[in-house]
Symmetry: C2
Subunit: 325 residues, 2 copies
C-alpha cells in the first residue's frame, strides 16, 4: 500500500512540519499525572499512520485561508480529529479481535481488552476536552455530531454481520457514517477555521465525504485482495467477521443466486473462493470504478470552486486513492 | 439497599418532577435515525437507577439560584452527567464481565461485548454533543477534564488488580478519580449554572467530592458484605476481579502479615474468609467510620456557607449514605 502522501514537493514539506506539530500537541495533551496512564498511552506510538485526517484539515484550512503560518487553533483541531480516529482504531481492534495493526501488536493484544476499552474512552474524552479548549462552540457541536454518527455507523454495521441481504444504499450509508463522516468533518473544520464562506465549506465537506467513501472502499478491497505483508495487518478480517463489502454486495444485487455460495465462503472463511466469485463476476473492477468515480467527483467539485496550491494538493492526495491496488 | 432519595417531602416532589424531565431529555437526545441504534439504546432502560448525579446537580443549582423554575440548560446539564454515568456503567460491565445490573441483564450480556463497547462510546459522544448545545464553553472544558479523570482512575485501578501493596493514598486517589470526580462536577455544574460565586461553587464541589468518596466506599462495602438480592447485582465481584477496597487496604496497612491470607482469599474467590479477617480486625467498622467522617465533613462544609431548603436536602441526601449497611 502506498503512503498516500507525497511529502517531496513544497506543500508536502509544509504539511510534514505541521504534522509534527500536530503529533506533539497530541502527545502533550495525553500526558497524565499518573504513570499508569502514560504507560498505556506509550503503546499508541505503533498506531501512528499517515495522518490523513489532520492532513486534510490542514490543507483545507490553507486552501481557504491562503496563508502559510498555521494558527495554534488549527493545529489543535487537527490533533482533535486524529485523537478521535485513534480512539476508533483502539476500539475497532477490540471488536475485530485484531492482534496486529501497522505491523505492530494492538493495544488489546498488548494490554488486554479491558485496558483497550478504557484507553479508547480516554482518547475520546481527551479529544473532546482538547476541542473545548479552542473555545469555538460550533466546532464542539460539529465534533459531537460526527462522533455520534461514527458510533451509529459502527452499530448499524455490527447488526448487519453475515447479512447477504444488505442493500447497496445501506452499505454506502454505513461507510459514510463510520468512516467518511470524520474525513468530511476534518475538511469542514479546516475550512471553517480558515474563514471560508458557506459555499467553500460545503464544497470541501463534500470533497471529504467522497474521499472518505473512496478510502473505505479501497480499504475493504485491500482486506479482500492483499496479503498481510502489504497492509501491516492480517488480511481477510472482514470475511472472518461477516462484514460484507462493496464488491460482494454489488455482485449479490446483480446475482441473488450467488447468496448461498457467498454464505458458504463466509462460514468457511474461504477468501480464495469469494475472490474467485468476485473476479468471475467483474465485481472487483466495478468497485475500483466506484473509487474512480468518487475521487473524480471530489476533485471536480473542488476545482470548480477553489484554485490554489493547497486545493491542488488536496486533489493530488485524493487521486492517490486510485493507485496501488 | 435504600434508594437514597426521599421523594416524599416538598423538595423531593420538586426533584422528582425535574428528574422526569431529565429522563425525557436523555431519551430524546439518544433517539437516532437508525432503528438498529434505537434497538440497542432501548436496552438501557434497565440501567436507570436513582439518578444521584442529576439530583445533586439540580439541588446544587437550586441551592445557589434559590429559585424553583429550572431553566432548560440546567435540565440539559443534568442529562449530560447522567449520560456520562451510563457510559461508564456500560463499559464497566464489560470490564467486570457482569451479567446482571439492577436486577436485569447487562448490555454486554444481552447484545455482546462489541455492541456494548460501541454503545458506551455513543453515550459518551452523545453526552459531549448535548453539553455543547448549552453553548457554555467552560462547562465543556469542565466535562472533558472530568471524563479524562474518570478514565485515568479506571486505568490506574486496572493496573493495581491483586496489588496487596496498594497504599491508602492511592486507593483514595482512585475512588476520587473514578467516582467522586463526576459527582463533584455535578455539584459544581449545578452551582455554576445557578450563578454561585467562586466560594459557593467550591464548597459544593467539595461536598460532591466527599459524598462521592463516601458513596464509593459504601458501594465497595456492599459488594463485600451483601447478598445479590440486596444490591440487584452479583456481590463479591471486586474480590473476583482482584479489586482491593478500603477495609482490606486499611487492614493490610496495619497488619502487613495478613498479605498472604488476603492473597489466598483473592485467588480462591473466598469472600467468607476475607470477611472473617476483616471483622476480626475491626476493618469493616473502620470503613463505616470513614463514610461517617466524609459525610459529616461534607454536611458541615455546606451548612457553614449556605442555608436554604435545597442545601438542607443536599445534606439529608448525604446523610442517607450513613444508613442501611
Amino acid at each position: 500500500m502506498n503512503t498516500m502522501l507525497d511529502m517531496t514537493n513544497e506543500i508536502g514539506i509544509w504539511l510534514s512540519a505541521e504534522l509534527d506539530e500536530v503529533s506533539s500537541v497530541m502527545s502533550g495533551h495525553l500526558q497524565n499525572k499518573h504513570p499508569e496512564v502514560n504507560s498505556v498511552c506509550s503503546k499508541l506510538a505503533a498506531y501512528k499512520g499517515k495522518m490523513l485526517r489532520p492532513s486534510l484539515l490542514l490543507l483545507s484550512w490553507r486552501a481557504t485561508a491562503d496563508c502559510a503560518v498555521v494558527p495554534k487553533n488549527v493545529v489543535t483541531a487537527a490533533a482533535v480529529v486524529e485523537l478521535i480516529h485513534l480512539a476508533t482504531l483502539v476500539h475497532d481492534d477490540i471488536l475485530d479481535e485484531a492482534d496486529i495493526r501497522r505491523g505492530a501488536q494492538t493495544i488489546n493484544s498488548l494490554c488486554g481488552n479491558e485496558a483497550a476499552v478504557i484507553l479508547g474512552d480516554y482518547l475520546l474524552s481527551s479529544a473532546f476536552h482538547l476541542c473545548s479548549t479552542i473555545k469555538h462552540v460550533e466546532l464542539n457541536i460539529l465534533l459531537g455530531e460526527v462522533t455520534n454518527t461514527l458510533c451509529a455507523g459502527e452499530l448499524v454495521q455490527l447488526s448487519h454481520r453475515n447479512d447477504v441481504d444488505l442493500s447497496l444504499d445501506s452499505y454506502f450509508q454505513i461507510i459514510n457514517d463510520k468512516t467518511a463522516s470524520l474525513i468530511a468533518a476534518s475538511c469542514e473544520m479546516g475550512s471553517l477555521l480558515g474563514g471560508g464562506d458557506g459555499g467553500i465549506v460545503s464544497v470541501l465537506r463534500n470533497f471529504g465525504g467522497s474521499v472518505g467513501k473512496a478510502f473505505q472502499i479501497r480499504d475493504d478491497l485491500l482486506d479482500l485482495l492483499a496479503q498481510k505483508i502489504d497492509i501491516g495487518k492480517p488480511a481477510g478480517r472482514d470475511l472472518e467477521k461477516g462484514k460484507l463489502t462493496l464488491p460482494v454486495i454489488a455482485m449479490l444485487a446483480k446475482n441473488p443466486d450467488l447468496k448461498p455460495a457467498v454464505l458458504r465462503a463466509i462460514s468457511n472463511h474461504d477468501r480464495d473462493a469469494l475472490r474467485k466469485l468476485l473476479l468471475d463476476n467483474g465485481s472487483i473492477s466495478s468497485a475500483l470504478h466506484e473509487i474512480k468515480k468518487l475521487v473524480d467527483g471530489a476533485v471536480a467539485g473542488v476545482r470548480g470552486e477553489i484554485s490554489n496550491d493547497s486545493s491542488e494538493q488536496l486533489c493530488n492526495l485524493a487521486a492517490q486513492l486510485k493507485q496501488g491496488i
